[in-house]
Symmetry: C2
Subunit: 339 residues, 2 copies
Amino acid sequence: MSQKATSFDIAQLAGVSQPTVSRALRGSPTVSEQTRMRIEAIAQQLNYTVDKNASRLRTQETKTLALLFFEDPTPDDSLINPFFLSMLGSITRTCASRGYDLLISFQQLSSNWHVDFEDSRKADGIILLGYGDYELYHERLEKLVEQGTHFVRWGFVQAGQPGTTIGCDNFRGGYDAVQHLIANGRRRIAFIGDASSHYPEFYDRYRGACEAQKSNGIRIVAARQVDAITTEQSGYDAAVELIRRKVKFDAIFAASDLIAIGAMRALEENGLEIPADVAIVGFDDIPAASLAHPPLSTVQQDYRRAGEVLVDALLKQIRNEKADTAALPARLIVRKSSV
Amino acid sequence: MSQKATSFDIAQLAGVSQPTVSRALRGSPTVSEQTRMRIEAIAQQLNYTVDKNASRLRTQETKTLALLFFEDPTPDDSLINPFFLSMLGSITRTCASRGYDLLISFQQLSSNWHVDFEDSRKADGIILLGYGDYELYHERLEKLVEQGTHFVRWGFVQAGQPGTTIGCDNFRGGYDAVQHLIANGRRRIAFIGDASSHYPEFYDRYRGACEAQKSNGIRIVAARQVDAITTEQSGYDAAVELIRRKVKFDAIFAASDLIAIGAMRALEENGLEIPADVAIVGFDDIPAASLAHPPLSTVQQDYRRAGEVLVDALLKQIRNEKADTAALPARLIVRKSSV
DNA sequence: TACGCTTGCGCAGTCGAATGCAAAAGCACT
DNA sequence: AGTGCTTTTGCATTCGACTGCGCAAGCGTA
């Protein structure tokens, strides 16, 4: 094929005008069945495909969404949170089934992504994914809203956020996890994960955990909470710290599975048995959770549903309908690490 | 902002013509420094960004690559091979650093992806990723070559392939893994993973494994090889089968980490200790490998480098330079499961 | 035969940026 | 003042598909 076929070529061969070709191929009812068939046959024979750039220029629609990952602490590519990778799969599939293409990009919080996609008409809307210091880009979100950019965000759900946010019910997840530990006889429950509002998702999980304890008449002991970011190493370090403090604990609720897995390693190295000495529950249900030793109980975020909801909320916005912020339910998965 | 600014708006404000604006913003030397500065200031003030679709239509260049995943056995989105997810990260980053956007898409082998991206000018080239039944799409690859589509493939490397393929040195990886087992005193080495040519990568690993045994004077016992596809369950099943056969073995070389992890679970359930009774080595070095219990020795594929090489090879093709098929070295990572 | 109505199609112009070519402006030198 | 050269700018056109509007042909009805 020396040269890509255009609608003009087809028009000429079919003995009609170029606009008729365009209409025929997009199924306009103003073209007779007969002509359409003729045109379609020729198009197929020439291996014709619509030039998307011309089409997009004219229609001002790209039928493409952009997915932006924000990475928090390290620029090391080994550390993409597995949970987000799972979401990626779901988002990709949903896009495909809705007839949209997906552009993906990893962003540093510093770069000016807010300009780069919808403004330049590479995409009709943007999906923002990533844990991270919310404050840092709060301002950017407001700018996006102001500019009328279509976007949805995965993250913690709270009233008064700019734009549409989809998240999971972190509070309830934390509550359920700890309730489960209590139901299994644990009373001294440690929490590993940032309890400040720096990581709002973690904070909600922590609040849920506290609430469960309170409603069971258990007093919260500050020393049983250790900060950690969502890496295995950080979880390990935090558990070591917990042990060093010599505060008694018979269970750990970790703010993420990666943290939990790191903590398990620390426990083991210190001769503590799971779940006999210490029960442990994580959060996310990443693939490695069920492979851990013992298999890790966790709170499952339904990434499959999440991807669908995100994409559909964004498409709603693009159609200029109102898309609501929503929290998806989280589900406790009990495995051997906690019973 | 009610309406997106165009180069005409800027031209008017700057008192120049539209083409001058276009030239100025792309740094053409034919525009005087003075005018350029004036234009740039106005552009910035209007939040102007180039309309990519117009630009692409005119230049016939998209500055975008498409990444197509092929999924082999199941359409279940939980089963994206973690190794490919790692590669995804690397590819994304490399694209970004080369100034290209990345479109991603999951494909069924049946769909007519060979038309959908470069032909419709959504992308300048295509990256194909995925294990899978090679025969099924061999024909398609030839068609791509014939049509002059720019593409690179990740997979097994062999002379006479259509197009450019980047892969890892599976044979050498298999060889090294088994050599390591032998060096640690193992003589009865089982292989789990397809040993037919259905999965060419696995087959190469198997051939490497056999070669290592032969060169140490160890006879290959057919009963010590069990087929498996690359899922944890399949690895589990295969190990159960191996045990059922009552053939003696003191080591397992698994064709992938997922298989290895499944096998470890089976060994454990049957009271076999790792590595005391059975040493085990996997392939890929997925994140879960180091989290396994005990940590899994494996052959690491350098996904980071792989992503770069893939992208750069593709860009070479796009520049109409010749891009060579290449095999990247694999590296043995020794952890506790084998020593 | 004349009128109106529907159906099918073409004309001409549009989307926004990029580019070959020519013209204008600036300068130097005779 | 006239010639030749370089630098800077504008004109006209192009990329390929989409669309508002109008025209012509076909049909039925009076």
